[in-house]
């Protein structure tokens, strides 16, 4: 009986771990993809670096 109790606790821990891992994976996959496939990233003018070197002509 004692052995079964221990085994049940282990299974709960594994499920939580897998759920956490799945969530982490989904978040990691979503963050870099969403801004490119969805709308462009919107920045305020204060976030612009006006003096950043660039290669645009004109």
């Amino acid at each position: 009986m004692k052995k079964v109790h221990v085994h049940a606790e282990q299974r709960i821990g594994r499920r939580r771990f897998l759920a956490w891992l799945g969530g982490l994976g989904a978040a990691g996959a979503t963050f870099p993809v969403l801004p490119r496939e969805g709308r462009p990233r919107e920045l305020s003018l204060r976030e612009a670096d006006f003096y950043r070197p660039h290669e645009l002509a004109g």
Binding site: R36, R39, E42, L56
Partner: protein
């Protein structure tokens, strides 16, 4: 379903509801024409005025330069295709910058001028117009770098707010325009004449592409037309081609070809002919057409020395040099 006709450029797109024009950014929303990039530039930089290039307009000053996505030309050799050949929603980032904010930022950065540039500001016309109106009230100059593919009526309206323009004349050949840019020549010539008539300080850029538009007879015709229609004092920038975008099969323009084209344009009667995209070339600099005195020495986009008098004259012979110097 109400279609709208865009009268801004010679394409005169008829746009169905929910659709976009050829430029990708002028759309029909509920039967009304809207520019999706109004107040949403994707490029903002502070550049030297010489980079536009404007060589006879406030030399050595900084210019607050903005552009949104989109263009009404589709040049195979486009240098800024990541910006111009996309719609606003395809950009990785955009800035929230309504006209008053742009002018405020330019002033805070100590810029005397704004530039609408990089892509073609024709397509974000309303944004240019509103920003220019506020900039002028704030005492800033408005400069415009364009391919000049715009209808006369909107251009004349905008000219009231413009101080200077560098306009591309990509070739003096309609076939080149159709094949390489997807546009036509005559509206560009009309736009150049309009800019001159409206008193906007005008400089012209011609990018010389090996085998496509570097024929000396064509250069001669172009320079002669400029002399007769725009005036011999209109600066011409002959610029070096580099393989880009969908035109990687051609080599960079040989410097000798640029030199030959410059001599041809000078022989045709133009007084100020520069060579661009060749840093350190002697034709980056301004010379007095009367006695040859070196007036403004430039290395690339940098003004190294400016000997013009305060009222824009040659210090040696007192010849007036046309331009907007202060």
């Amino acid at each position: 379903m109400t279609a709208v006709a865009c009268e801004l450029c010679p394409r005169r797109c008829v746009i169905p509801e929910g659709g976009a024009g050829d430029c990708r950014i002028r759309v029909n929303l509920g039967g009304k024409l809207r520019a999706t990039t109004y107040g949403r530039p994707s490029a903002i930089h502070i550049d030297p005025m010489e980079k536009k290039p404007l060589f006879h307009f406030h030399p050595g000053t900084s210019v607050f330069s903005i552009a949104t996505a989109g263009c009404n030309l589709h040049c195979l050799n486009c240098q800024n295709w990541q910006l111009s050949q996309r719609g606003g929603e395809e950009m990785e980032q955009i800035y929230r910058a309504d006209p008053p904010e742009v002018v405020k930022a330019a002033k805070e950065q100590g810029c005397k001028s704004l530039a609408y540039t990089y892509s073609d500001p024709v397509v974000f016309y309303e944004y240019v117009y509103d920003t220019s109106a506020i900039a002028r009230r704030a005492g800033l100059n408005n400069t415009y770098h364009t391919a000049g593919y715009i209808n006369p009526k909107p251009l004349r309206r905008l000219c009231k707010l413009l101080d200077a323009s560098n306009t591309d004349l990509k070739a003096f050949d309609d076939g080149f325009y159709r094949r390489v840019t997807g546009a036509t020549l005559q509206p560009v010539l009309d736009a150049l004449v309009t800019l001159r008539e409206e008193g906007v300080w005008l400089e012209v850029t011609n990018l010389l592409i090996p085998t496509l538009n570097d024929d000396l007879a064509m250069i001669r015709r172009m320079a002669t037309w400029m002399r007769d229609e725009l005036g011999a004092d209109t600066p011409l920038h002959l610029s070096r081609f580099q393989p880009q975008y969908r035109m990687r099969n051609l080599p960079p323009t040989p410097v000798e070809a640029l030199d030959r084209a410059r001599r041809e344009a000078l022989d045709a009667g133009l007084r100020y002919v520069y060579i661009g995209n060749v840093p350190g070339h002697e034709a980056n600099s301004t010379y007095c057409p009367t006695d040859g005195t070196l007036l403004i020495r430039r290395v690339g986009f940098m003004v190294v020395e400016n000997k013009l008098t305060a009222d824009g004259r040659c210090p040696t012979c007192n010849q007036t040099i046309p331009g907007v110097w202060k």
